[in-house]
């Protein structure tokens, strides 16, 4: 008994570390389904997302032909949810892609470039970091008008320091490692060492950071749409669906707001679970190495 129990505990612990938690699998599965639904919305949606019928407004979920009911203009909530997933996912993806490209570039330049450039870029990132992203996006909308392009660029700028600071920090640590010096002694250029050897080692962390940023970008863009500053009607994303459903709440009709609200909630939770898992995996890998 005394010999077996520790052995069992050890096996369980090892097994837990190797297996992916159920939450991660569920989150991954959920995101795959959401992405597939978004991609196949024209095929899967039972109705046109813009087809109105005022006299059929506010139908409850389960009404004939409308599984999730209808909104204030009689549009099918399920169809709008499916089509809305496209912008709701693509826009934050764009933000994260831009922020990652810019953040990685600036972070590597700061870490691997001359000292004065590091000081300059670090301070610049500190300044942007201190500016609320949502406010920057609203400013962009005020200057360039409503729509998704301006706030996407503004949010990408706001999110750049989140990636850039981490990349700089990691790249500095990496630069101190013997292999980097070895490559340089062997005659490899600084740029080549950075791109071919330093950057690949940072990729898992960058991926984890981007996954986390995706969830926040999704919330920010949905908030802008909720405030009426995002997509132009009749286009829909989940944030605009919630905003349009607000008056229905006054009439005791919560479903037009609940459905997209749950979609936002579950997607952000799923992305965050995956991001956390990725981050933890990188951490464990680092500890083992």
């Amino acid at each position: 008994m005394t010999l077996t129990l520790p052995a069992l505990r050890t096996r369980r612990g090892t097994s837990r570390a190797r297996r992916r938690p159920v939450a991660v699998l569920l989150s991954g599965g959920f995101l795959v389904v959401v992405a597939a639904v978004a991609a196949l919305a024209p095929v899967l949606a039972p109705h046109s997302p813009d087809a109105t019928s005022l006299l059929d407004s506010f139908l409850l979920p389960g009404a004939p032909g409308h599984l999730l009911g209808t909104d204030s203009t009689g549009r099918d909530t399920l169809s709008r949810l499916m089509y809305g997933a496209r912008l709701s996912l693509l826009a934050p993806l764009g933000v994260v892609a831009l922020a990652t490209i810019a953040g990685v570039t600036l972070g590597l330049l700061a870490a691997r470039g001359p000292g004065w450039l590091d000081v300059l870029l670090s301070r610049a990132m500190d300044v942007v970091f201190a500016f609320p992203g949502l406010l920057l996006a609203m400013l962009a909308i005020a200057v360039f008008g409503r729509g998704l392009t301006a706030p996407m660029i503004a949010l990408a700028i706001a999110y750049t320091p989140f990636v850039g600071r981490v990349v700089r920090s990691l790249a500095l640590q990496e630069s101190a490692r013997p292999y980097v010096e070895s490559y340089q002694v062997m005659g490899f250029g600084r740029l080549a060492v950075t791109l071919r050897h330093v950057l690949p080692n940072l990729t898992p962390v960058i991926a984890a950071q981007s996954a986390l940023a995706f969830g926040y970008a999704l919330i920010d863009l949905a908030t802008l749409s909720f405030l009426g500053l995002g997509v132009r009607p009749p286009q829909s994303d989940w944030g605009s669906m919630i905003a349009q459903a607000q008056p229905a709440l006054l009439q005791g009709l919560p479903w037009p707001a609940v459905v997209p609200g749950i979609a936002v909630l579950l997607t952000v939770v799923a992305v965050n679970v995956l991001g956390d898992h990725l981050g933890n995996s990188v951490g464990r890998t680092g500890e083992r190495s």
Binding site: A51, Q173, A257, I262
Partner: protein, 551 residues
């Protein structure tokens, strides 16, 4: 070779309105709201019209009243042609006359008016009337005020009354004489409107263009005095205890106007008692507010319409305008958007505005076709004109849920039939600017809006669409229409004038320059502890606060 990870950082957590709404929605779902059924038919609201309410009996120290159309840009009576300004100014500033409940003229700063011939009006001013600062109202102040409105530099929409104006002079210390160039059947009404509102000359001249602004305020004679304006927050008025009208005894000591434009926030604020009342009540809040306090409906002179604003684009093609008209879901807007409280409208001016020659107007109205959505006709018209596929930009007030729903449905129906209607939701300041500035209307082809008549005279509204008129946004011009309206403006006989107006009405409706949709009731809500306020359309130009008080 693996790297050692640094600590992962993430954007700072942000509390969002989204989460709040999702929680609110979930909570509402859990509570099973009182109107939790589905389907448009079940969303009907039984709006009973009220004209008599119990008189106020007890004093009230202070109330908070919301302006749902937003903060007024200015409080100059010369600009009192939009709801937010008029709702406040009507309690501060007075004209020579005022409207009673049936739009009859009652003496205000003038005790009487004589009409010795068709072209002359002689006003005898009220003795003892003073401005808030104690200075007496003089004939000079009256002449200055009326002339000031006509100054092109002021760009007052009220200048339009003066098509037959010749002169106004102080003919005695307490007498003012108005001379016209020709008979004008509508001019009497303007004596009770901001066109004849009296401001103190010395104050107005000293303030210059700033008169009516937050810094300068106004100097008038009315029941309530301008006290403070915290821009972006509130406007405060206090009772004028020296008001000449001793028969009316205003019971509310002070009022704070707020500027909440979001319908959900309005209803929440009204229900909580944070705000005591407001005119123009969000349709979605009818059920909750009627349970909470007094939600009152009355006949109105309001219409809900689409107006062309640019005829150089697709709206310049009559077939496109016709198609847009046929795309409107009249029944859906009336029954679902306005929950059965709105009536289909065949003409731009609603039948409630037939202040004279009712039989003539009514007969003409009934001869007009009953509008109905006809998507086959839209498709047919679209196939006939290539301009129908051009982008047609329709502006509307995003803060109004009714406008948003109607605009969405109109655009969808039109686009499904092959048109290319693009929606432009606007904020209250942006939308308000459409009515004041041609520059603000650039880029838009049409606007969807609620409008109203100032008094029950169809001619006054149809006059807006004559060539060169301030409110003829599209620059539409029809010689026959202009001739009919011009003739009506000089016709004193009610029946003859009504016949001319009815003929002009048929022309503008056939042209679809303005597309009427529904007529609406006047609605007002106030808390259960208040009374005395009848839901009357005259509130924009009469001191409605003077009737309000405690039970």
């Amino acid at each position: 070779m693996h790297s050692t990870p640094a600590t992962l950082t993430a954007p700072r957590s942000r509390g969002t309105a989204l989460a709040a709404t999702a929680l609110l929605a979930a909570a509402t779902a859990a509570c099973g709201g009182s109107a939790g059924g589905g389907g448009g038919d079940q969303r009907q609201f039984d709006a009973e019209y009220t004209s008599d309410v119990p008189a106020a009996a007890t004093p009230v120290e202070g109330i908070t009243w919301n302006l749902p159309t937003g903060e007024p840009p200015i409080l100059d009576p010369a600009q009192s042609a939009v709801e937010s300004i008029s709702t406040v100014v009507s309690n501060m500033c007075e004209g020579l006359f005022t409207f009673d409940e049936d739009y009859g003229l009652q003496p205000a700063l003038a005790e009487s008016v004589e009409h010795p011939d068709d072209l002359t009006y002689v006003f005898t001013l009220r003795e003892g009337a003073t401005f808030w600062n104690g200075n007496p109202v003089t004939a000079d102040d009256v002449v200055y005020s009326v002339t000031r409105i006509l100054d092109p530099a002021l760009a007052s929409p009220w200048a339009a009354w003066a098509v037959n104006f010749e002169s106004i002079t102080a003919t005695a210390p307490d007498e003012v004489t108005l001379r016209l160039t020709g008979p004008d059947p509508m001019v009497d009404n303007f004596f009770a409107l901001p066109a004849f509102t009296v401001v103190e000359r010395a104050t107005a001249e000293a303030a210059g263009p700033a008169f009516g602004s937050a810094g300068a305020g106004v100097m008038c004679t009315g029941a309530y005095e301008f006290a403070a304006w915290d821009q972006g927050q509130s406007i405060e008025l206090t009772r004028n205890d020296d008001w000449w009208n001793s028969e009316a005894e205003p019971l509310v000591e002070s009022v704070t106007f707020t500027f909440v434009t979001d319908p959900s926030a309005q209803v929440a604020s009204l229900r909580s008692g944070e705000t005591d009342g407001q005119w123009i009540v969000p349709t979605a809040g009818f059920d909750q507010l009627s349970e909470e306090g007094d939600l009152l409906f009355g006949e109105s002179l309001q219409n809900f319409f689409i107006s062309a604003t640019d005829l150089t684009g697709p709206m310049g093609d009559p077939a496109v305008r016709d198609a847009l008209q046929a795309a409107i879901d009249y029944e859906g807007i009336s029954e679902s958007v306005y929950r059965g409280t709105a009536e289909h409208l065949r003409a731009v001016v609603p039948p409630t505005a037939y202040g004279y020659a009712e039989d003539v107007f009514q007969e003409a109205y009934e001869e007009l076709p009953q509008p109905a959505q006809d998507l086959d006709r839209v498709a047919e018209l679209v196939s006939q004109t290539p301009r129908a596929s051009e982008e047609l930009v329709l502006a509307y007030l995003a803060a109004a849920d009714e406008d948003t729903r109607a605009a969405t449905a109109i655009a969808d129906a039109a686009n499904q039939a092959g048109m290319n209607v693009q929606l432009r939701p606007l904020t209250p300041p942006e939308f308000g600017a459409l009515f004041a500035s041609p520059q603000a209307r650039e880029g838009f082809d049409a606007l969807l809006s609620v409008g109203y008549l100032d008094y029950p005279e169809p001619l006054a509204y149809y006059q807006f669409f004559t060539t060169g008129n301030f409110y003829n946004f599209a620059g539409w011009s029809d010689p026959e229409y202009d001739a009919l309206i011009g003739e009506a403006l000089g016709t004193v006989d009610d029946t003859e004038r009504a016949e001319l107006v009815a003929r002009a009405q048929a022309i503008i409706l056939e042209q679809d320059i303005v597309i009427p949709i529904v007529s609406l009731p006047t609605a007002v809500y106030h808390g259960p502890e208040l009374t005395g306020l009848a839901p009357r359309e005259t509130y924009r130009y009469t001191p409605w606060l003077a009737a309000l008080g405690g039970e």
